[in-house]
């Protein structure tokens, strides 16, 4: 398979770019932030996403979706990254749709997937518990109780947790933190008794929540996949999410870079454009090269996720590591090269820096994934 977009994929990119740049430029995020919008994204725009087939992108046609793959999801995420659009796409259309499609029973799929496709159901994945992403360390308890389970524990950085109509929760039915065996995924109604959701206002003005579960009762039908055997399913879903966030960071990096190069050509000091100075030229060139190489690594991972998801782990680890370091470099150079203007809230560049920091942490930062790769290679 060639490591470039097909014609159909390029068309998808163009239509996503057209919509997102038109309806949700960076000023859209700024407006949501400044008005302290309770939802934190535009429900109107989410309807349009559904009409264009984006919300059900990963859902099979049988359940009203488009039946496309990780490459296509990455294409949409990259465009989202360019304008920093807050959207349920990641939590609902990528994570939840993947989890349900891969792990769901026919009944679960039939109940939820059509609603994801038509945009009427928002969902969220609750995995993280500590300060860093460590899915293997999941320690939230799910204790057998009658025909079902009782869930107790705290979840953090639940993307879109405050608006979700369905939670997918990783909890421990056996074993202890650090063990693959004993992790189970549950479908949980966020309105269930014992759930306290706190929307957390984040540095990047995107949406997340902390959710506390206190003896939340769920029945046996709410298990997604198999009891105790949820870890491989979770890893598979997280890998799609990692590929998607890596794509978002590619879009974000490229946008910051484009704005910065434009500024280098416009801003004059010492009587000439600052882009004439070799000190800046070389750094701009290094950043360009970094972005291009990361773009290739990310596309490689997305293709691997579609072609052979069970063996895509290393390619995903490479992509998420690279995307994180590249985005971090891009936003730092972006602010530095914009000088004092880069430090102002009035200028958009700071929004990119804030979002890049959150994307780094989402589903494992560069350190986490480089470590994963080293373990996979046996050292």
């Amino acid at each position: 398979m060639a490591l470039i977009l097909t014609e159909e994929q390029s068309m998808l990119r163009d239509s996503a770019r057209g919509l997102i740049s038109d309806k949700a430029p960076v000023s859209h995020l700024r407006q949501l932030r400044d008005s302290k919008d309770e939802t934190g994204f535009s429900r109107e725009l989410w309807k349009t996403f559904a009409e264009m087939g984006f919300s059900g992108l990963l859902v099979s046609e049988q359940f009203g979706g488009s039946g496309l793959g990780a490459v296509e999801a990455g294409i949409v995420m990259e465009e989202i990254g360019r304008t920093l659009m807050p959207s349920p796409f990641l939590a609902t259309s990528v994570l939840a749709a993947s989890a349900l499609s891969r792990g769901g029973s026919e009944a679960q799929k039939a109940q939820h997937l059509p609603k994801i496709s038509d945009g009427s159901l928002l969902a969220a994945l609750a995995v993280d518990e500590g300060a860093k992403h460590r899915p293997l360390q999941t320690s939230m308890q799910a204790v057998r109780s009658g025909n079902g389970f009782k869930l107790t524990g705290d979840k953090a950085l639940v993307v879109d947790g405050h608006t979700a109509g369905l939670l997918i929760v990783a909890a421990r039915t056996a074993g202890s933190a650090g063990e693959k065996n004993g992790v189970t995924l549950f479908l949980v109604d966020p309105k269930a008794k014992g759930i306290a959701t706190e929307r957390t206002i984040m540095v990047d003005s995107h949406n997340a929540a902390r959710i506390v579960f206190d003896n939340v009762e769920v029945n046996a039908d709410s298990v997604l996949g198999e009891v105790d055997q949820g870890y491989p399913l979770l890893e598979g879903v997280l890998n799609v999410g990692r590929g998607a966030v890596a794509s978002e960071m590619v879009g974000l990096s490229e946008e910051v870079f484009g704005r910065t190069v434009t500024y280098l050509k416009e801003r004059k000091q010492f009587g000439k454009p600052i882009g004439e100075f070799q000190a800046l030229q070389h750094r701009a060139a290094q950043l360009y090269i970094d972005i291009e190489i990361t773009r290739a690594a990310v596309l490689k991972a997305l293709q691997a996720l579609d072609a052979d998801p069970a063996n895509a782990g290393s390619a995903v680890a490479v992509a998420k590591t690279r995307a994180g370091t590249t985005a971090t470099l891009a936003v730092q150079e972006g602010v530095q090269m914009h000088g004092g203007m880069g430090m102002t809230d009035q200028f958009d560049i700071g929004f990119f820096m804030k979002r890049a920091r959150v994307c780094q942490e989402l589903f494992g930062d560069s350190n986490f994934h480089a470590d994963q790769l080293a373990r996979a290679k046996g050292y």
Binding site: A2, L3, I4, V261, L264, K265, K272, P273, G275, E276, F277, Q278, Q281, H282, A284, A285, Q286, Y288, I289, E292, I293, T294, R295, A296, A297, L299, K300, S314, A315, A317, V318, A319, T321, R322, N367, H369, A370, D371, L373, A374, R375, K377, G378, Y379
Partner: protein, 394 residues
């Protein structure tokens, strides 16, 4: 698609049958590379067998036209062959500057006669080429070169000196940049010319490097007579040919190094340093450097694959090889810094059987030239800044 799958299975079967087991092991010394040429010697019987089988198949240069001794494979087929060779660790049967540098320039700028004369001798490994570009006072500023070619009837008379001429002392022919119009602006008076290294007036002198090896030479020309018909492209327009060739040279250099073959660096390091109870390298900081390196190495491999696919689709920027050259060479230097650190004391021996004659430290020192030869890293960044990013010229 079905045709390509058929090609893949046939290629796999052919390689399985024809690639000797010895030629599937990672190369360990310079002698493992076969360069061809009038005085070529095979370092082993399997090397000879492998070369001859690939030559007869046209696969020493699989993507050149069959008329010129190539394999006539299209882009997809050539990619499949590369993948299948990589899969079994098959060595390149023939390495030469004729393949990686002169050939592409001749295919684009050469006359039909020049192509028929030179290309088949490259694919058959009969003639070994060297590159006469740099001069003592023309390094990064290559276009200021001073080697003169003065007109004398149907010939040029060439006088001057080249430096850093790789393997000039083993080469049969040279492709050389000479000044044919001293009055013109510096880029406009240069011609690209081919001649035999046994011509009267040509001499070479190897330069001893910090690695203890002498891969580069000084090359001197004293009244060397060369027919004007040996000019490639138009007289005084040699800079176009030179630049085009440099793109290929940079692409080749960016691909140097043993990317993704053999054991992971972390395991090589663990051999000498050891591992903790959980199997992790017993040097946490080095382990993290290695992991970052291997991430970047995998990403570069993807970028190299993508660069080929972009070129095939006609979407590549012509200056992108400068970007790859920069990144690939800096990465290879990192690889060897890590290898030296991983080897510790053992990697410091310069002359012993145990160290295979100091192979590792010598290779480490050799990599320092990667970011200088074929255009320095700084020149590459300048090219990217100006030609790709369109930043204003200084």
């Amino acid at each position: 698609m079905a045709d390509l799958e058929k090609f893949r299975s046939e290629t796999r079967a052919w390689l399985e049958q024809n690639c000797p087991p010895e030629m599937r092991k990672p190369m360990t010394s310079d002698g493992d590379t076969f360069w061809g040429g009038r005085n070529a010697k095979f370092s082993s019987e399997p090397q000879r067998v492998w070369f001859e089988r690939m030559r007869d198949k046209g696969w020493t240069v699989p993507h050149w036209p069959k008329d010129y001794g190539g394999g006539g494979l299209d882009g997809e087929e050539a990619k499949i062959l590369r993948q299948e060779m990589t899969a079994i660790g098959a060595r390149q049967p023939l390495t030469s500057f004729g393949i990686s540098m002169l050939g592409p320039a001749l295919l684009k700028y050469g006359t039909e006669e020049q192509k028929r004369e030179h290309l088949p001798k490259i694919t058959a490994g009969l003639i070994r080429w060297c590159q006469g570009y740099s001069e003592p006072n023309a390094g990064s500023d290559l276009a200021s070169l001073q080697t003169r070619a003065e007109s004398d009837g149907d010939d040029f008379i060439i006088n001057g000196q080249k430096i850093w001429t790789s393997y000039a002392n083993y080469a049969d022919w040279i492709f050389c940049l000479v000044r044919t119009d001293p009055a013109a602006k510096k880029h406009d008076g240069i011609s690209f010319i081919l001649f035999d290294m046994t011509s009267k007036g040509v001499s070479t002198k190897p330069i001893l490097l910090i690695s203890g090896y002498s891969p580069f030479c000084e090359t001197f020309f004293e009244n060397v007579r060369v027919p004007k018909s040996h000019v490639v492209g138009t007289i005084n327009r040699g800079w176009d040919v030179a630049k085009y060739l440099l793109q290929h040279e940079r692409a080749m250099i960016s691909g140097m190094g043993e990317r993704g073959v053999g054991r992971p660096l972390g395991q090589i390091a663990a051999d000498s340093i050891g591992a903790d109870a959980q199997g992790r390298l017993d040097d946490a900081v080095l382990r993290s450097q290695i992991a970052s390196f291997e991430v970047d190495e995998a990403a570069l491999a993807a970028a190299a694959e993508r660069a080929v696919d972009l070129a095939k689709a006609g979407q590549a920027h012509p200056a992108f090889s400068s970007a790859m050259k920069y990144y690939g060479t800096e990465l290879n230097k990192r690889r060897y810094e890590i290898l030296m650190s991983a080897g510790g004391i053992d990697a410091l021996e310069w002359e012993s059987e145990r160290s295979r004659g100091g192979a590792r430290p010598r290779a480490w020192l050799r990599t320092k030239a990667n970011s200088i030869e074929g255009g320095t890293s700084e020149v590459m960044l300048g090219i990217v800044a100006k030609r790709i990013l369109d930043l204003p010229g200084a």
